[in-house]
């Protein structure tokens, strides 16, 4: 059964695009805040360290200016400068380095890697004589970044859910619902078919009686007729006339109406039964040579075609993957109709052509017959309905039958017509199975 999503053009790519969008959005939301936070915090920290280094360097520079030669040996004072910290809670590694990188003094806490460092030169009269370096651990920033990342990734997951999963859930839900409706409909249809089949079948029993007993009446009447005729002699002329009217006219007329009506009823019941049986018969799809079927149908109509002097042309017709019987009966029926409903007095022209589309093959049965009025275009496919002048025998079953057959096959049938000019019956059969079939064989 075709699902709802199958009707949306290319649903897979729509879902893929949606998924991609959801992943991008959630990644962006997950990554950007943490990255931003990290960079901001890192540079703020670097700035803070630089300020500290600058401060220390100010004091060390003062020391250096005071005693340019020996400042490097004033360990205690240098140590004192390095140990002097505003924030005792932040672990740091401060050092004073000589120009060659040699450590002159240091104040170190134990730091956990990774580390960040900032230096500031020690100046003596504008000349760099050494440097102050301060290191801090990046770990606290990383921990906080991880926290931010955790939050933003959760936000990303929520966004992903909102963008990707929610719409698909609702689509799936809608699809499931439509599947359920379709199934309900199928069950209802099956019930209805069984009901119609049952009714049609049950109508047969009373029909047997109606026909049977009207025939019995006829037999009985025939049996008593000689006796009645003999007793007629005893009646007056007027009475004789009345009896004769009843026996010769009224009774046979009544029986005639009963017979013709039961005959009609029987035809209807049989039509309904055969229409219902279409649904019971299993389809057997195969590659069908439609040209051969058309030629076969034309051979059966050869007498009519010759009598009415109809010219028939057949374009190249592609083979279709379908049930042979469905195709055979549909084609035979459409051609039979085309020959039947020609305009009297105009040479008949019938053409059969086909068009292979991507998803379906459409056959066109075109005639130059009497045509069908716009209002009747739907009616001709209804059961027991016949349109136009009723001068041709038929029980009005043909097209209803063809429509049921074709629909069972998954195809469509419709009619285009201009009254007085002719009609074209279009029969389309889905082509996808056929391609698979050809691919497999």
């Amino acid at each position: 059964m075709p699902s709802l999503s199958a009707n949306i053009k290319n649903p897979t790519s729509a879902i893929q695009r949606l998924t991609l969008l959801a992943i991008l959005a959630s990644l962006l939301i997950g990554a950007v805040p943490s990255l931003g936070y990290f960079l901001a915090a890192y540079y703020r920290e670097l700035g803070a360290i630089e300020a500290e280094a600058k401060g220390d360097s100010f004091y060390v520079s003062a020391l250096a200016s005071e005693n340019p030669r020996l400042w490097q040996y004033q360990q205690i004072r240098l140590q004192d400068i390095l140990d002097r910290r505003i924030r005792k809670d932040i672990k740091e590694f401060r050092s004073v380095l000589a120009l060659d990188g040699k450590v002159i003094a240091e104040s170190r806490d134990s730091l956990e890697p990774p580390l960040m460092q900032q230096t500031y030169p020690v100046l003596d009269a504008g000349r760099s004589v050494g440097m102050v370096a301060i290191k801090r651990s990046v770990r606290p920033i990383l921990l906080k970044t991880a926290l931010v990342a955790l939050l933003s990734v959760s936000l990303g997951v929520v966004i992903f859910y909102l963008i990707r999963i929610m719409p698909i859930r609702s689509v799936q839900k809608a699809e499931e619902q439509s599947r359920r409706y379709a199934k309900d409909l199928e069950v209802t249809n099956a019930d209805l078919r069984a009901f119609i089949f049952g009714i049609a079948h049950d109508l047969r029993a009373p029909l047997v009686n109606l026909k049977g007993f009207s025939s019995e009446l006829r037999t009985d009447l025939a049996e008593i007729m000689p006796l009645l005729l003999r007793s007629l002699a005893a009646l007056s002329a007027e009475e004789r006339l009345r009896v004769a009217t009843v026996l010769d006219q009224a009774v046979p007329e009544a029986l005639g109406y009963i017979d013709s009506s039961t005959g009609k009823l029987d035809a209807l019941v049989n039509a309904i039964l055969s229409l219902s049986r279409i649904d019971f018969r299993a389809l057997n799809p195969e590659l069908v040579d439609t040209e051969a079927l058309v030629q076969g149908a034309l051979r059966n109509l050869a007498l009519t075609i010759k009598e009415k002097n109809i010219s028939v042309t057949m374009g190249p017709l592609p083979a279709v993957f379908a049930d042979r019987l469905v195709m055979e009966q549909s084609i035979a029926n459409l051609l039979d109709n085309a020959c039947k409903y020609l305009e009297p007095g105009r040479p008949g022209v019938i053409s059969i052509t086909a068009e292979s589309g991507k998803d379906e093959t459409t056959f066109y049965f075109m005639d130059n017959g009497r045509g069908i009025a716009q209002d009747d275009l739907q009616k001709v496919f209804e059961i027991f309905r016949r349109a136009g002048i009723q001068d041709t025998p038929g029980e009005g079953m043909g097209l209803a039958f063809v429509k049921a057959l074709v629909r069972r096959q998954g195809g469509k049938i419709w009619c285009e017509s201009s009254p007085g000019e002719g009609s074209t019956f279009c029969l389309s059969i889905p082509a996808n199975d056929g391609r698979e079939f050809k691919g497999n064989s």
């Binding site: 047969r204 047997v208 026909k211 049977g212 019995e216 019941v269």
Partner: protein, 146 residues
Amino acid sequence: MENHEHLTILLVEDDPGHALLIEKNLRRAGIVNRITKLDTGQKAVDFLLKKGEYQGQEQVAPFLILLDLNLPVLNGYQVLETIKGTELTKHIPVVILTTTDNPHEINRCYELGCNVYVTKPVEYEQFCESIRKLGLFLSIVRVAQT
């Protein structure tokens, strides 16, 4: 030879009209045997197995059963199954008379052991013909038995 006319035909048919038509046509075809008519499947089974309302009654087993499929209480298939599954009755020929011409149902009847299947066509002439042929067939059977 002197006994065959006392043999009974059992006609199981719920539609009294059909039963009457069948009987009339059998008579017209020359069948003179007693025809016992029953209108439900249950009665047919009870009659054959001498149960229920037929318990204790001295019944002559019919030599032929004409059975409709569409019966109330027990349908024709169930009756047929019972007849063919019971030692006492399984030798009695069964003719299925019904309006169904569905091949599945016909096959099912033959699988269950029915001997002849006759569709009740709405065409009265055909119907009479079927019944007459049946009558003829019965005469042959009757002659063959004696």
